[in-house]
């Protein structure tokens, strides 16, 4: 696994964390080769997580778009309601293997916090989740779920009080407690080896998708679409497809119309945030910008380093979708297919519908529906009113 993606990635961290990152990399590499570990990961993915998730033909949404076929990779059906489970399970097992009794995590939308709380409970690891106060307000159901699952939710009151500062708080905790604690980072961000580990555990999405597409319509899709905050569901989708001819489209949060939202790849420039060199929304002095998005899970000024390289190399195209368009896609999927998508995934859906309109009926588009939207009802109803 590379420490660098092109020039991006690396480990820009306080020295205190260096031994822990080295241990994590070593244990992870051993675990990947260990049949017993892989069996356990596969067993729990299936029996606890509900994998594999289906590939669903969205026929009425396809008719609405009036072009290429739209298929959904149903990560919203994974245990806990989002793809976050895939990574939380894998890293939870690594923590166990390292003998670390405590998990910490950051969360934005709350989905990663819920996944970590579930895995903490299932593996018997004490779990504490950092969450920005702004996000606690807008994602209340997930806060309750984490608490019911036995995790402690620690409100983050500093800085932007959203995902970025939740990661800062989790890193500070890890620096102090690194001997007993595993930082179960929720996206393909952070210092090496985290981006590689998270992508590895999320790649089950793309591997299943390849198999299922061939079974469902006889070949790989023409286009795969996924939303990008930190970018783990997108990398899980794209990574196994990167050496195929499938077109790849990453969709960032464009925020309110006329703003740069949280579009680090669309509007940012290379910088170092949370231990890695990648694209960062920042000012002329390198101060990281405040972001704005209707979706807490995409509301992040950085992005995983592999996305930065995919952007520069041209392998993946990136676009940004504004809040109002994501909301429209949310309602489309609800009334056309009977599925409430997460607001994060709704960004990808809108871009997929836009693409489908321009393409002939013979083409196939797969959208990774990264999570379900129950957590977003408050925001959606508030915005509709």
């Amino acid at each position: 696994m590379p420490e660098r993606y092109g020039p991006y990635g690396g480990a820009f961290v306080p020295e205190t964390l260096v031994p822990a990152l080295a241990e994590l990399e070593r244990v992870w590499k051993e675990a990947r080769r260990d049949p017993a570990f892989r069996r356990e990961l596969s067993r729990l993915s299936t029996t606890l997580g509900g994998r594999p998730t289906p590939l669903y033909f969205a026929s009425r949404l396809t008719r609405r778009a009036g072009g290429a076929e739209i298929w959904l990779k149903r990560e919203d059906l994974v245990h806990g309601g989002a793809h976050k489970f895939n990574n939380a399970l894998g890293q939870g097992l690594l923590a166990q293997r390292m003998g670390k009794p405590r998990l910490i995590a950051e969360t934005g939308a709350g989905q990663h916090g819920v996944a970590t709380a579930m895995i903490g409970a299932a593996l018997g690891l004490r779990t504490e989740v950092y969450m920005g106060e702004v996000d606690i307000d807008r994602q209340k159901p997930n806060v309750d779920r984490m608490r019911l699952l036995g995790a402690r939710v620690i409100p983050v009151k500093s800085g932007t009080r959203t995902l970025k500062d939740a990661i800062n708080a989790a890193l500070r905790d890890w620096i102090a407690n690194v001997r007993t604690t595993h930082y179960l980072i929720g996206s393909a961000v952070g210092p090496h080896p985290f981006p590689s580990i998270v992508t590895d555990f999320q790649s089950v999405i793309g591997r299943e998708l390849r198999r299922q597409a061939v079974r469902a319509f006889g070949r790989l899709p023409d286009l795969a679409v996924a939303c990008v905050g930190g970018g783990s569901n997108a990398l899980g989708t794209f990574h196994p497809l990167r050496k195929t001819s499938v077109e790849l489209l990453g969709v960032e949060a464009g925020g309110p119309a006329g703003s740069t939202g949280a579009g680090s790849l669309s509007y940012g420039r290379p910088g170092i945030l949370h231990g890695a060199l990648s694209y960062v929304l920042q000012d002329a002095d390198g101060q990281v910008s405040e972001t704005e998005s209707i979706s807490a899970g995409l509301d992040y000024p950085g992005v995983g380093p592999e996305h930065a390289w995919f952007r520069d190399s041209g392998r993946v195209r990136y676009t940004a979708v504004h809040d109002q368009d994501a909301l429209r896609a949310f309602h489309w999927l609800a009334v056309d297919e009977g599925i409430l998508p997460a607001l994060e995934s709704s960004h990808a859906l809108f871009a997929a519908v836009t693409e489908a309109r321009r393409r002939p009926k013979e083409q196939h588009i797969v959208v990774t529906l990264s999570g379900r939207g129950d957590k977003d009802l408050g925001v959606v109803l508030g915005a509709t009113r």
Partner: protein, 261 residues
């Protein structure tokens, strides 16, 4: 005088090296010179000038709040350069900031500009040894000593490598945690790390930082064989309590005057 020379001289003379840390803040610019003069009077060997960053992951609540306040008050890189020109007339000055502001200004350009403003050292708490090669080159070209940090949990071998690569001094982090305060149980015996550094780089001073707040904590740090201390959070708290130069001088003299055992 330059950072490395000042520290080596102090060490050779058996004096305790005392390095206060001041965050650059636009609204404090008018009293910066008086503050630094007071620190010199009190026995400071050199100065760390902190440039605030929006995401200071190695800092505890006091310095994080100070950075946020400085940034809200409009503090920019230009303020840093202006402060550098003032303080480097009084004390050898190193800049401490996170990797991204330096990278944003370009490693070579930043090092050159800082050097031109009188800065003679650079400390980047989120720069690991593994990532440091281009930074060391840029610092050298700009005439800056790139100071590396060592921390608890590192093997003797790793501390030795850090000491050999560090310039100016080796910054030894005193405990597992962020600046300002060690939680119960997070202190470690630093003496073996200080020893490893001194063996690997006999002429490089080793300074202990994080959590040095008074004479007792300074004495504890010096008892490990370290050559001096860095004082950040406690000075920020002192300035908030009583910013008068005479008060700062009286307070810092107690720490800087802590004898080496």
């Amino acid at each position: 005088m330059r950072l490395d020379k000042a520290l080596r001289t102090a060490r050779a003379e058996g004096r305790t090296i005392a390095v206060p840390y001041l965050m650059v803040e636009r609204r404090r610019a008018s009293r910066l010179k008086a503050t630094v003069l007071a620190l010199r009077e009190a026995g400071a060997t050199a100065l760390e000038l902190g440039f605030p960053f929006s995401d200071p992951i190695a800092d505890g609540p006091v310095l994080e709040a100070a950075a946020n306040r400085a940034l809200r008050g409009g503090t920019t890189w230009a303020d840093l350069l202006e402060a550098a020109r003032v303080t480097s007339e009084v004390l050898p000055t190193a800049v401490m900031t996170y990797a991204n502001p330096v990278l944003r200004h370009g490693l070579e350009a930043a090092a050159r500009t800082l050097g031109g403003a009188g800065i003679s050292g650079l400390i980047v708490p989120d720069l690991s040894l593994e990532e440091s090669a281009p930074w060391r080159r840029a610092a050298r070209a700009g005439g800056l000593s790139l100071v590396l940090l060592a921390a608890p949990g590192g093997s003797d071998e790793r501390v030795a490598r850090l000491a050999r690569s560090s310039r100016g001094f080796l910054y030894l982090v005193a405990y597992y945690g962020t600046t300002g305060h060690a939680a119960e149980g997070n202190r470690v015996d630093l003496a073996p790390l200080v020893n490893a550094a001194h063996r690997a780089a006999p002429s490089l001073p080793v300074l202990v930082g994080f959590g040095i707040r008074d004479r007792a904590s300074a004495a504890r740090a010096l008892s490990t064989g370290a050559d001096g201390v860095v004082v950040g959070t406690a000075l920020e708290e002192m300035i908030q309590r009583d910013p008068r130069p005479a008060s700062i001088e009286r307070w810092f003299r107690r720490i800087a005057g802590t004898p080496r055992p």
